[in-house]
Amino acid sequence: MKTRHLLAPALLAASGIAMAAPDLGQAAKQATNWTAISMFAIFVVFTLFITKWAAAKTRSASDFYTAGGGITGFQNGLAIAGDFMSAASFLGISAAVFLDGFDGLIYAIGFLVGWPVITFLMAERLRNLGRFTFADVAAYRFHQKPIRVFAASGTLVVVAFYLIAQMVGAGQLIKLLFGLEYWIAVVIVGILMMVYVLFGGMTATTWVQIIKAVMLLAGASFMAFSVLAQYNFSPEKLFATATEVHAKGDSIMGPGTFLKDPISAISFGMALMFGTAGLPHILMRFFTVPSAKEARKSVLWATTWIGYFYILIFIIGFGAIVLVGTNPDFKDGAGKLLGGNNMAAVHLAKAVGGDIFLGFISAVAFATILAVVAGLTLSGASAVSHDLYATVFKKGKANSADELKVSKITTIALGVIAVLLGIAFEKQNVAFMVSLAFAIAASANFPVLFMSVLWSKCTTRGATIGGFLGLATAVILTIVSKSVWVDVLGNASAIFPYTSPAIFSMAVGFFGIWFFSVTDKSPRAAIDKAGFEAQEVRSETGIGAAAASAH
């Protein structure tokens, strides 16, 4: 039965691609689209077989949310790295390096430095206290309802912004790479993502992410290798040539205009560093491994792969400067890059590996978006089914089958919403959305998680009010900053002068939690504080954690 359900959307998607391509392909260009489309089709068929295999293993809510805890540290590390190596970082950061040189590396480093902080302060405690979502940890000793409502809001807001950015990116990218209509691309992403999550849950989502991570790392390694090979593996020669041919000359070898002022620099760094430790779809991955040991191994692998990937991206960006920027074939009449600057890495793929490799990289870029949106959707669905439905609505008495059903309904709802929003935002500038997601995660989710686990005097009231204050501050300051107030709403100048709100909104979040906890004299506050000792023992040793996941 399951097989038929799974194959039908696959055929639908495949035939959709096959039928849509020829007429649109003529209007766009080149036969290379066919290579990309067939490679992507192979990826899709392969991942659907994995989904079929995963579906057989996805029986309970626990299987759905955490793959039954059966992922190894190495696999989980690749999956986490996959969540981070989105199309935005592959195409966006290489484009930033192509345009400004070193500034692109400053941006990339920000995404990496949150990992050690997660490892040292959070990973172990998360693993020992939680089961499915980060709300399990944040709400451990508190009154469940308010904290769960907060955590679910924090999750859904972060997921929504991240998802819209990915969907719009997918539509634009596919339009360029495959020559498909924008809306068709968005619908394909939406349908495939729903199939993965609905039938395969976390097992399928993780394996799709792992396969994509391996493909992306292999492709990027080949590109960086080919670039360096042309310069006898001497970075010096590559940099020397780049400074000769780049319009900005020597200035690409040092920091430029990316960090406008020190406050923006620190604030942006904080959003990236602490935001990573508050992203719900990342935190969820700590529950897919069987032990704290494996959880630590997974962060080490993730950090290693992501660090390696960003070094590759830097080389790829410089490769694009020397091999793409100097080649008129990749430019239009006005001397601009065909398809926009985000195409720098894609053009480089053609320059070093020809049409076949270009097809491979295009397929990988599409697969990347697919894998990332699947993880986001799963995380949003768990917030609704586990935090809102099972804990708040059913007061912890929901049975696994009903909870699973609610997650699946939510997955469909989120898929439909993502497609609609993706289409609605087609012409909008969504560049601010990923940074906003990080700023919210850093200002709302992270402070609540951190204080509830480490501060004995934190109370339900403090965590809930402080968390919402951090969330609201991050959103409001982003709206009145340049990226929305000027770039989206079209006002002349921004009210909030800095690039990122994090330094202020994180302070508001932490202050709110502190203030509304110390002034909390309610009977509930006494229970919250009394619960700290037991929580601390479990978070440090894991005693009681195994028993909790057995029932």
Partner: protein, 108 residues
């Protein structure tokens, strides 16, 4: 978790040793990461001239090796922590757990 177990674990000298050592080590590494990263960020924001200056005769500037250093440092501190936590700290944790479990049986 039953309050007896909590108290028994809390009074275990190994537990106190584990928590003190691990959190001290974790915070030292966290601060070292912050110093390296924010130091790098501030250098990029304040001293663009130094970052953009050439190291030797060639095109290579200070910015590039420093940037790569931050990436390598990030991976290395994570590796140092994970190695110690998966060895020394886990051994301590297992001992504490074993004692807590034994105590439970006696109490029951």
């Amino acid at each position: 978790m039953d309050q007896d177990v909590v108290q028994r674990v809390k009074s275990d000298p190994d537990y106190r040793k584990l928590v003190a050592k691990r959190s001290r080590f974790g915070w030292i590494l966290t601060w070292s990461m912050m110093v390296v990263y924010y130091g790098f960020t501030l250098l990029c924001a304040f001293d663009k001239e130094f970052m953009g200056s050439r190291i030797g005769e060639g095109a290579m500037t200070w910015a590039i090796p420093l940037g790569v250093f931050v990436i390598v440092f990030t991976v290395v501190v994570t590796a140092i922590y994970v190695r110690r936590a998966n060895g020394e700290y886990d051994a301590l944790t297992d001992a504490i757990k074993a004692r807590a479990a034994k105590g439970e049986k006696v109490a029951a």
